[in-house]
Structures are given as structure tokens and as C-alpha cells.
Assembly symmetry: C2
Homo-oligomer: 364 residues x 2
């Protein structure tokens, strides 16, 4: 049997640094566990713009379509802020999501015991927090047409279109219900059905799937503004949250921040099954490219390492290896090791990017 | 000189109860301070639907256009959830905002000393918090066309349109810059210019106004997802935030929740000056209709009373009377009085809606 293939796209900012650490985890697995991958590497985002004048070269796009999984670091940075909208680093990432049809973006927000104190929220509000946000990732206002900046008389007009079809809502809802089934059996869907017709359709379609296919799941609906509030007030009331692309962008960032561990959170973006049965998949840390600390050996590699662990679990059915990596991360944290982003917690030992991985590998 | 006119729209849920308390404050001002208003009352939201089959009767709309200020309680409730989109209680409120052209929605998020402990956030993160969110209220995805649920082949499609013009952005930006000038001279504008062209236009136009008209204001820009995060992580970094209708809906709710005092927060929605120089204006508490506690004498009247205080200040130039009301609220809280929503704070004295107002009036 041929090895599973993995395309690594480090991207910009701290992306390359954290990806170097993931490579060390991959090497360890090959050496110690005889688990090996066919790894290729390419560029995306600002790095691709610098090399090719586009944030995602067609050849890279084609490779991404062929591999079993893509692992991406981060894209963007102030250097590219003035670029034209269509060649911004973000467009590379958005093109990957869209053309690979990665409609279900899984963003777990888990509060690590060792780090609960790093949250701006009170301990009892977030201790033990474990929620999963499922964000629709290939439609909505991110991709709807018409879009652009137009001239009308003396005025410029900026337009974007929020657009969802029945089947787009159904497929992401099913993905979320399936997760709720494996977790605590609760799903809350969020939109603004009181203001937006696209939200009315969203709510109706989610409820239909609930009634017809998942009667055993406790399904509820919340307006997204109330949802944002409740995430801040009492996040542990949630199990799985399903929401659209734009609300998901904000709500998952709030959820991530609650845990006090932005540098810790992975994500998986999943699409339809390929011929080999594996879903199209892209894994990336939730944190951005953090240009302010890039290149200084300060970045926290954990989110990217845990994104790779998600790949082991969701793409390669290697739950055991995934658990090994995740357990090692928890153990390193329990030992008090802290990259600078985690140093709001009292009493840890400050380490850099490499030492953190050293510790994780030692625990493995 | 004729008395200034005030239209009171109690609306649904706890709206009527809290408005009764505002009436007591109005009566007190008339008796003790010889400040009097020409007050009329009408219905809106579910109440109007029950009476007229529409959430806002044309006569009520016409009255709202004529008065110096409108004071609204809250609209909506589960009773109306199944109603057709176009007659939902919310449509009444949205019609008022749109037809009165109330483009600048001011939502102060202030953490009252006496209540800091009620927040789910740590004390030092929110103690002394005082930020002002300025939300565009008459455009964006709330009102853009085309909108609706359509059929395309076998699919239903839900569509809404995010749409902003130069002049819409400019006028709300100016309102926000003026506030920043009177406050701490800092303004942060939030959008998703990395993903949405309407955000690109927003950012450009805000920056133009900054450069041309407010060089003394420290102006910055943030993506709305990062903004949501930063509100949770370190809200005191902000002074004035300006953002669009939909982002403003979520971000202002987050900000409100930070203070631990949702039942405390007022809002003002301001439009263009009328013939008498006063701006078109509607004042409303940020909390909703809270149907679960309606009619039980448990509602916190403070947000609605403080909304009336905002009316005194912004519509009637009665800063002194506004300060009198605000001071009395603080004093009542400092005495330990707490409606049930505030009872997460240890050691307060639990009171109902009426007793809270009794205490405020006594302090005045
Ligand atoms: C970088 C950006 C395009 C992206 C998004 O808006 O989706 C990011 O914020 C995210 O959440 O993955
Ligand atoms: C009730 C609803 C229409 C409204 C909105 O979405 O604007 C509310 O959430 C608000 O923030 O005032």
C-alpha cells in the first residue's frame, strides 16, 4: 500500500516556524512508530505572492486536490496589507477552501486545565470547557455574487451577497449532527432569522434535518448576537454549535479566546469523500500569522501540532497516534512549560518554539 | 415655548413594566424640577401585531416622525416566533430605525463598580471599563436588496445583500469621530476587509475621514473577528468602536455582556437634525423583551431609565437632569440593591422592579 500523502503549506509569519516543529513530530512517528507519510511542501499566501504574483499558484491548487490531506500554517501580514483585494494572501486560503469544497470547518474550543488561569474569564466559567464549533466554510457572504466596489453617480458602493442553498445548509448540518452524536448529543444552530431571510432558511433546514434524521439530538436555535453573548456568559451550556461562514468566523474566535489558549487551538476543514474514501481535508491552526513575533523562535507550535493530530484522526483513521500526540501536549503543559503567549499563567517555565516541541516529543 | 414631545412605545415582554418605571422618573422630574414633556404612548412589535396585524401601524410611524424623541421598551417573544418574516415584531423596530433614518446607534458599555463582580470576566479585565460602540443602523445586510427566500430548481435559496455607500459610511464615521473627540480621542473601526469588498470600502472611507477631518484622533482598523477576540481578551484597549449594522449587532452584545450588567445598558439611535435642530432619535435598552420573566415584577428597570437619561442628554440638552438620574442609579447600586439579574454579585439586597425605582427616586 502506498503511503498516505500530505501537502504542507507553511505560509507566512509564524507559519514556517510552527510547521518545522510539526515536521519533527512527523519524523518521530516515522522513526518510532513506523507511521510514515509522503510529504510534499509548497507555498501559499504572501509567500506565494512574492514568488508568483498570486497567493496560490494553479500547480499548488492541483497538488492540494490530489493529496490525502493539506496542512496549512497561516497566511497574511502587514507587508501585504496594501495589495489589491484579489491577490491578498487570504485569497489563497479562500481558494483552497472553495475549490476543495471544504464545507465543514471543525473548531474545537477546549480549555486545557493547565491553562485555565490564562483566560480573561473566571475560572469556573471556563474550567473544563469543551465545545465544538462547526462553521460552514464554502458559501455565504464569503463567496456570494454579486460582490465588489462599484460606482453609482457620485458614490462608491461596496456590495457582498449572503447566499445559502438548501443543500449547502443540509450538508453542514449533517456534519454537525454527526459530531453531536459522538459527543454529548446537543446541537445549537445560530443565525439571525429575525433579521435575515437567509437565516430563516438556515433555521428551517436545520430543524428539518433534526426532525427527520436526528430526533435523539437535543436541537436548539439561537440568534447569533445572543449566541455571542452566551458564549461569553456561560459557554459550558453548549456542546456542538453549527453556524454559517461569517458568524462562524466571529463566534469561533470568541470561543477560542475564552480558552485563554489561542496558540493551542487546531481546526479541520472537511469536504466530500474522495475515491479512496477519505474526505478532502485541510488542517490549520486557528491562530493567524502573528507577524509581530515571527522569526524569533517565540511562536507556540501546539495549535499546529494539534492540527496535525486532527489530520491523524479525521483523515488517516489513526486515532491512537492522534491521542499519543494530544496526550504529550497535555503532559508538557502539565509540567509547566509555557511559550510566551501562555505566560499570563503564573508559575510556568518560559520556553521557545523548539523547546516546547522537545518536551512534547520527550513525552511521546 | 411648547413642551418637548416624547413618544413612548413599551412594546412586548418586560417592555411595559420597565416603561412604567420610566414614567415615574418623568413624573418626578415634572413635580420636583419643573421639567415636563408632552408624552404620548402607543404600541409596537407583538403588541401592535395583536391589535392591528402589523408590528408597526402607519399612524404610529407618523407619530414617531413628529415627536422630539421616541423611547422604546423591547419587542418580540416566543408567541410570535412562528409569524411570517414580514410581520414579526422585529420588523416594527427595523421600520422605525429605517424610516426615521437613525444611522448612528450609540451603545455605551460601562462597567459599574458595584457590579464588576457580576461579570463572567476577571475583575481587572473589566473594572473601570467604559467604551462606546457606534453601530451603523440603517443599512448593510439588514436592509440591502435583493433579499428573500427563492426557489431555484429543486433548491430553495436564502439571499441577503450587504451594501454600503460612501455617504452612509462617512456619516456614521463622523458621528463616531465626534464622540471620540469628546472622550479619549481613540477610534477603532471594524470590518472584514480581508474577505469582503464592502469592508474594503468601509476601511478606506473611514481612513479618509480620519486623515481629512480628524487628524488628532488616534484611528485604527481591526478585522471584526479579531475585534470580537480583543473585546473578550482586553476590552479596555478600546475607546470608541465604529462598525457596520451586523458586526455592530454582535460586537455590542459582547461588549454589553462583558460588563455583567445587560439589564443596565441603554442605547441611543440618532439621525439627522430636524427643523428644531434636535436630531431624530430613538432610545431603547440593549436588553430584549425577556419573555421568561415578563409580568412578574422582576425586570431590571435601569437600562430603560438610563435610556431616558440618554434622551435627556442627546435630545433635550438637559445634561444636568441626565447626570441626576445617572448618579441616582449608581447610588442605588452602591447601596447594594439588586434586581434578580444582578444577584450573581454576592451580598446584595434582592429587590423587584418597583423597589429599584423607589430607591433611584429617593436618591434623586
Ligand atoms: C484569514 C481569514 C480569511 C480567515 C477567515 O475570515 O475565514 C480567518 O479569519 C479564519 O477564521 O480562518
Ligand atoms: C431585535 C433585533 C431586530 C435587533 C437587531 O438585530 O438589531 C437587536 O438584536 C438589537 O441589537 O437591537
Amino acid at each position: 500500500m502506498s503511503k498516505p500523502s500530505l501537502l504542507i503549506l507553511p505560509g507566512d509569519g509564524i507559519g514556517p516556524e510552527v510547521m518545522t516543529e510539526v515536521r519533527r513530530v512527523i519524523d518521530w512517528l516515522e522513526k518510532e512508530k513506523d507511521i510514515s507519510f509522503d510529504v510534499t511542501e509548497d507555498i501559499v499566501g504572501g509567500a506565494a505572492y512574492d514568488a508568483h504574483g498570486t497567493p496560490l499558484h494553479d500547480d499548488t491548487m492541483a497538488k492540494a486536490q490530489e493529496v490525502d490531506a493539506v496542512l496549512l500554517g497561516a497566511v497574511g501580514g502587514p507587508k501585504y496589507d496594501a495589495l489589491d483585494f484579489n491577490v491578498k494572501p487570504e485569497r489563497g486560503l479562500l481558494r483552497l477552501r472553495k475549490e476543495m469544497d471544504l464545507f465543514a470547518n471543525l473548531r474545537p474550543a477546549v480549555c486545557f486545565d493547565a491553562l485555565a488561569a490564562a483566560s480573561s474569564l473566571k475560572h469556573d466559567v471556563i474550567a473544563g470547557l469543551d465545545i465544538m464549533i462547526v462553521r460552514e466554510l464554502t458559501s455565504g457572504v464569503y463567496f456570494g455574487e454579486p460582490r465588489g466596489v462599484f460606482t453609482e453617480g457620485n458614490e462608491r458602493v461596496g456590495i457582498n451577497t449572503q447566499r445559502y442553498t438548501t443543500s449547502e445548509i443540509q450538508r453542514v448540518a449533517r456534519a454537525a449532527f454527526e459530531l453531536a452524536k459522538k459527543r454529548n448529543g446537543k446541537l445549537c444552530s445560530m443565525e439571525k432569522a429575525n433579521v435575515m431571510e437567509s437565516g430563516v432558511l438556515w433555521r428551517e433546514e436545520v430543524q428539518k434535518i433534526a426532525d427527520a434524521e436526528y430526533p435523539e439530538i437535543e436541537t436548539s436555535h439561537m440568534y447569533a448576537d445572543a449566541g455571542a453573548m452566551q458564549l461569553v456568559r456561560a459557554p459550558k451550556q453548549f456542546d456542538v454549535i453549527v453556524t454559517d461562514n461569517l458568524f462562524g468566523d466571529l463566534l469561533s474566535d470568541i470561543a477560542a479566546m475564552l480558552t485563554g489558549s489561542l496558540g493551542m487551538l487546531p481546526s479541520a476543514s472537511l469536504g466530500l469523500p474522495m475515491a479512496n474514501g477519505r474526505p478532502k481535508a485541510l488542517y490549520e491552526p486557528v491562530h493567524g500569522s502573528a507577524p509581530d513575533i515571527a522569526g524569533q523562535g517565540l511562536a507556540n507550535p501546539i495549535a499546529c501540532i494539534l492540527s496535525f493530530a486532527m489530520a491523524l484522526r479525521y483523515s488517516f483513521d489513526m486515532g491512537e497516534a492522534a491521542a499519543l500526540v494530544e496526550g504529550a501536549v497535555e503532559a508538557a503543559l502539565a509540567d509547566g512549560l509555557r511559550t510566551p503567549d501562555l505566560m499570563t499563567v503564573e508559575g510556568g517555565t518560559k520556553v521557545g518554539t523548539t523547546e516546547m516541541t522537545d518536551a512534547i516529543l520527550a513525552k511521546m
